[in-house]
Structures are given as structure tokens and as C-alpha cells.
């Protein structure tokens, strides 16, 4: 069973030249790639409300909903209040929000996530001043009840991936996971999985920017037992979603 744990649907801002994709296109791509279910979130110019309405009870494909946490969104609190029991994860994107995850404006959402054990996916990138994995590790200490998934395996660059994996293993950040979305360097993914353990790695494609069929072979090629690959493809995310309270 394959769950793509990181997909976007909707319209991007200028950051991706207003590129737009629809729910129907996402379903087609997921199904044709052999994906059984997907954790979806909006893009930066699509509202939570709009995407949630189109996906949560979709009859054609199984979506789990990941709420986009932009503290400047005036609709966000109402959206969360009305739908919190049907939201599976939160997504925080420090680079697009131009603020670190440690920014005080995120605190109430992190507290909400912790009180309900909602996993939080955090974009980790190369912009170290804002989107470094190190800020996520700080948050994981302050909010030990939140399962934190560090997207792009902590930075989408071999040096950052390895550094992040080693730090997670060395300091035993038990509530921290690595998401594989958009990481191409299979050799380093393999090493990172060996360092943190397959139970800490979650498959994602970063669709509509990437395709699941680009990244599924990467997990399949890992030098680990088949049961570990199953965990990465679906077991770990099922466990996090199921453990929400």
C-alpha cells in the first residue's frame, strides 16, 4: 500500500508562476502512479476551505487533509475550529511565510497540535536563516507531544540531509520524522534511513511540483527489508494519523 504523504493541490502564487492543478488531475496522477491514498494540502494561493471541501469526502480517491497553517490567514482559526476532527495533519512553510517555525505567531497552532497529537509537517530548506531543520528540532523539544515531520529530509540537499539525520539519531529526537518529498539523491536517502531507522521516514512526492512515479522507485531501491519499505510507504503515516486524539 502506498500513501503519498505530501501533495499540493491548487494555485501557486508568483513563486511558481501561478501554476495551477485540480483535484481531478491529482487523482489521475495518484492512481496512475499506483498510489492508494494521499495527504493533501493547498498551495499558497488556494484556501484551506476550498480544498478541504473538494477532497475530504471525495468518492473517487482517499485524501487525508493537511491544513496549511498561515498565521496571517484571517479564516484559519474558524476553519480549524469547524473541522479539527477531520484534519489529519498541519503544514507549516517557514520559507513562504517568511518566518521561522519558532516565531511566536505559530505557538498557538503548535499548542493545538500538541494537545491533539496532530502531526505537523514543516518545510525544511536551504534558506538556513528561516527554514533550517535546527529550528524544528528546537520546537520538538518545546512541544514533545507533536510528531514533527521534517519535509525534504531536513533540507533537500545531501549535506543538510546527512547532518539532520545524524543529529536526530544522536540526540534521540523521538518525535521527529523525515519526509522524503522531492529528494532525488538516493544514496543519501539510503544512508539517512540507516541512521534514523525506517520507522522515522515517511514517503512523499511533493506533487504538484513532483510526481509520485519519480520518487516511488527511490524508496523501492533502498537497501532495506521489504517490511521497512512498507513502513516508509504507508505504515508510519497511518500510525501518526491514527494516533491523533
Amino acid at each position: 500500500m502506498i500513501i503519498d504523504s505530501h501533495i499540493h493541490i491548487g494555485k501557486w502564487s508568483e513563486v511558481f508562476f501561478n501554476y495551477t492543478s485540480t483535484v481531478e488531475q491529482a487523482i489521475y496522477v495518484m492512481k496512475s502512479s499506483g498510489v492508494d491514498a494521499a495527504v493533501c494540502m493547498p498551495t499558497d494561493s488556494t484556501s484551506n476551505h476550498e480544498l478541504f471541501a473538494q477532497t475530504i469526502d471525495n468518492r473517487d480517491f482517499k485524501f487525508y487533509y493537511m491544513a496549511w497553517i498561515n498565521p496571517m490567514d484571517p479564516e484559519l482559526d474558524k476553519f480549524l475550529e469547524n473541522n479539527i476532527n477531520r484534519i489529519s495533519l498541519f503544514k507549516i512553510h517557514p520559507s513562504l511565510q517568511k518566518r521561522r517555525i519558532t516565531d511566536p505567531s505559530f505557538v498557538k497552532y503548535l499548542a493545538l497540535a500538541e494537545s491533539r497529537r496532530i502531526p505537523v509537517v514543516v518545510h525544511c530548506g536551504r534558506w538556513q536563516e528561516i527554514a533550517s531543520y535546527k529550528f524544528c528540532l528546537e520546537v520538538s523539544v518545546m512541544f514533545p507531544g507533536i510528531p514533527l515531520i521534517l519535509a525534504h529530509m531536513g533540507g533537500d540537499q545531501p549535506g543538510l540531509i546527512m547532518e539532520c539525520a545524524i543529529e536526530i539519531a544522536r540526540n534521540r529526537y523521538n518525535n521527529v520524522y523525515l519526509g522524503t518529498e522531492s529528494v532525488r539523491e538516493f544514496y543519501f536517502v539510503n544512508n539517512a534511513v540507516k541512521i534514523v531507522g525506517a520507522d522515522k521516514v515517511i514517503f512523499g512526492s511533493d506533487y504538484n511540483l513532483g510526481l509520485p512515479s519519480m520518487y516511488i522507485p527511490l524508496i523501492e531501491s533502498l537497501d532495506i527489508p521489504a517490511t521497512d519499505k512498507e513502513q516508509i510507504f504507508s505504515g508510519n503515516i497511518l500510525r501518526l494519523i491514527s494516533n491523533r486524539s
Binding site: M1, V35, K62, N85, R86, L238, R244
Partner: protein, 355 residues
């Protein structure tokens, strides 16, 4: 995989609509599920594939079944025939039912499923030949228990041995069968809305299916005492069509489920979750073990000795009533909604190598 996983639920009856709730939940979550029942239910719950097998429902049959109930259930009980006559009866019954069951297997392609849920832990045949056959085909078997099946009838040892996953929706089963997996029963919370109510007197509903189990006579006595000191309207609903009950319920401010019944603190059922979904704070008696298990819950836990006091608290405090309305609805969504229960079941499937 990328195709819908097919799940066949097999149950003696659609008891209280529970097996069908599982089917509906799974169909809403991208499984392809169907329900085969052996006998039609008598309470107008929906049917899917009903085999309409003959069952003995007369007073002697009931007496025979009742005679097999142990007053004290202290551990896991395995089913065995009470005597050679009963064993012969079930052999003959299997023989008689065989053509009808075989015809349904062919007609509905019943071997063409991936997962088989034996709801109530019972096969189509008493000698378990259908379960053994599907196991030999490499299919996955789940046994799900709903009440007296595990508690008083006992489980079928041979079926238990080939089961890949055992589930229960009853708290006391977890004490009788160590290691069984508890699931909150699924309920379609979102089909209910919280109506606006403007009653001049607080309206309290009690709708027993069995007066002894629900403590109805004792509850009525308490209600009489409350009526002497407060302006309330008490509605006792019995033997009424479900639609009618729902209509009445939607006008009520408070509900009493079971308090002071002979089962003593056996907790809540579908009726209570329906109440919470409609924003009706509900009084229920729990055993202390049950309350420990349900650490967070919105019910007004009470017993027959403090029911009056708890009722007065709620009648006199509108703010508390409002808080309980919201708390109850949110709790029902959180634990009993199709999405929430299905997420838990998916993980159990995964952990037991069913998906």
C-alpha cells in the same frame, strides 16, 4: 495495489445496525464493502444481502438460549454445544442451509473478497467450513464482537485460531479477552445537526429498549422527585418507529440512557452517540473501570443515587448545558465518526498484515 479493497462482512443479523455501520464506514473510506446476514433483523435496520435462513425464534427457542447464559462471566468463554442433541441440531441446520448458502456464494461471488469480517465471530456454517475455505484461499479473516457473542455465547476456538485480527466494540470484552483490539463503534455523526430548541420547560427523554437493563422504573421515580421541585417535561419513548423517535428526540434538552439498570454501569451505546450528535447532554452510569478507560468523555456520569442531584445541576445551569452540548458533539466526532474509526481500523489492518 491501487484498486478498492473488497471487504465482506458476515453477520447472523444486522444487530442494532452495527454491522451495516461498519460497511457504510468502509464504503465512505474507499473500501468496497458488503454485508451478508443470515437472518433478517426485526427492527427495520437496513439489509444488504440477507440469506433469510430459517431461525427458531419462538418462546421455547428463547428459553433454550436463555438457559445457556451464565450469570457470572469471569473469563474468555469458548463456545461448545451444551449436549449431543444441540450438536446434532446444528449439524442438521448446516445440512439444511447448505443449498441456500452455496447458491448465495455463487450468485454474489462471495469468494471474491480480500478481507472477511465475521461480525459476531460466527461463520455461515456452524462447522466453520466457509471460514476454513477462505483461509485456504489466502484471504484475511477479522472477527469483530459486539456484545453477548463474546460475553455469553463464547467465541469459536477454531475460528479464533485462524483469525488475523480480533476486534471488539465493547469495553468489558477487553477484560474477558486479553489482547483483543478495542474500537469505538462507527457512527455517522455528520448526518445529524444540532437543532435550535426553545423549550419553556426543560425536556428530558428516556427511550429504553429494555426497561430492566436501562433502569427505567428507578429513573421514573427520580424524575417524579425532580418534577416536584422543578418545571420539567419528561418524555418516555418506547416501541416507536425510529423516525418518530428522532423527531421527538430533536426537541429534547437532556437524555437519560441507562442508570440503575441490572447490568450496572455498562456504559453507552448508539442511542447515546445519537444524542450527543444532536447536541443532547446525556446521563449514563459507568462502572469505575469503564470510566478509567474513557478518561475523556462528555457524558454526565451518575448512578441512581445521585441522578437527581446531577439532573438539577444541569436543569439549573444553562451555561453548563451549552458547554455539554458542544463538548458532546465534538467528542462524538472525534471518537465515533466514520473517519476517526476508519483511521484506527486502517492501522490495525496494517499492523496485522491485512493491507
Amino acid at each position: 495495489m491501487n484498486r478498492l479493497i473488497k471487504v465482506l462482512h458476515i453477520a447472523p443479523q444486522n444487530f442494532a445496525g452495527m454491522p451495516m455501520d461498519f460497511v457504510n464506514m468502509q464504503n465512505a473510506n474507499h473500501y468496497k464493502a458488503r454485508l451478508v446476514t443470515m437472518y433478517p433483523n426485526t427492527l427495520k435496520f437496513p439489509e444488504d444481502i440477507c440469506l433469510n435462513l430459517n431461525s427458531h425464534t419462538g418462546k421455547y427457542a428463547k428459553k433454550w438460549r436463555d438457559s445457556k447464559i451464565d450469570a457470572k462471566v469471569s473469563g474468555l468463554k469458548y463456545y461448545k454445544s451444551k449436549n449431543p442433541i444441540e450438536a446434532l441440531y446444528f449439524k442438521l441446520r448446516d445440512l439444511k442451509n447448505t443449498p441456500k448458502i452455496f447458491s448465495a456464494i455463487n450468485h454474489y461471488d462471495l469468494f471474491d473478497y480480500d478481507i472477511y469480517h465475521f461480525d459476531g465471530g460466527m461463520d455461515l456454517f456452524r462447522d466453520l467450513r466457509f471460514a476454513r475455505k477462505i483461509k485456504s484461499l489466502g484471504k484475511k479473516i477479522v472477527c469483530c464482537y459486539f456484545g453477548s457473542d463474546l460475553r455469553t455465547r463464547g467465541i469459536f476456538k477454531d475460528l479464533d485460531e485462524i483469525s488475523d485480527l480480533n476486534l471488539t466494540v465493547e469495553f468489558d470484552h477487553t477484560q474477558l479477552y486479553p489482547g483483543i483490539n478495542y474500537l469505538f463503534f462507527p457512527f455517522d455523526v455528520h448526518q445529524y445537526k444540532i437543532p435550535i430548541r426553545n423549550n419553556s420547560k426543560i425536556k428530558i427523554i428516556h427511550s429504553p429498549t429494555n426497561r430492566l437493563f436501562k433502569g427505567t422504573d428507578k429513573i421514573i421515580e427520580v424524575i417524579r422527585e425532580v418534577e416536584a421541585v422543578r418545571q420539567i417535561e419528561f418524555v418516555l419513548v418506547e416501541n416507536m418507529d425510529r423516525e418518530e423517535v428522532l423527531k421527538i428526540k430533536s426537541t429534547c434538552d437532556l437524555a437519560i440512557d441507562q442508570v440503575g439498570g441490572i447490568a450496572g454501569g455498562s456504559g453507552y451505546g448508539k442511542n447515546s452517540i445519537e444524542n450527543l450528535s444532536m447536541g443532547i447532554p446525556t446521563f449514563v452510569e459507568f462502572s469505575s473501570g469503564y470510566l478509567d478507560f474513557l478518561k475523556e468523555n462528555p457524558f454526565i456520569a451518575c448512578n441512581i443515587n445521585n441522578l437527581k442531584e446531577r439532573l438539577l445541576q444541569l436543569i439549573d445551569n444553562e451555561q453548563l448545558r451549552r458547554a455539554k452540548i458542544n463538548e458532546g458533539r465534538a467528542w462524538a466526532e472525534k471518537y465515533h465518526s466514520y473517519r476517526s474509526v476508519n483511521d484506527k481500523l486502517d492501522l490495525l489492518y496494517y499492523d496485522n498484515k491485512i493491507i
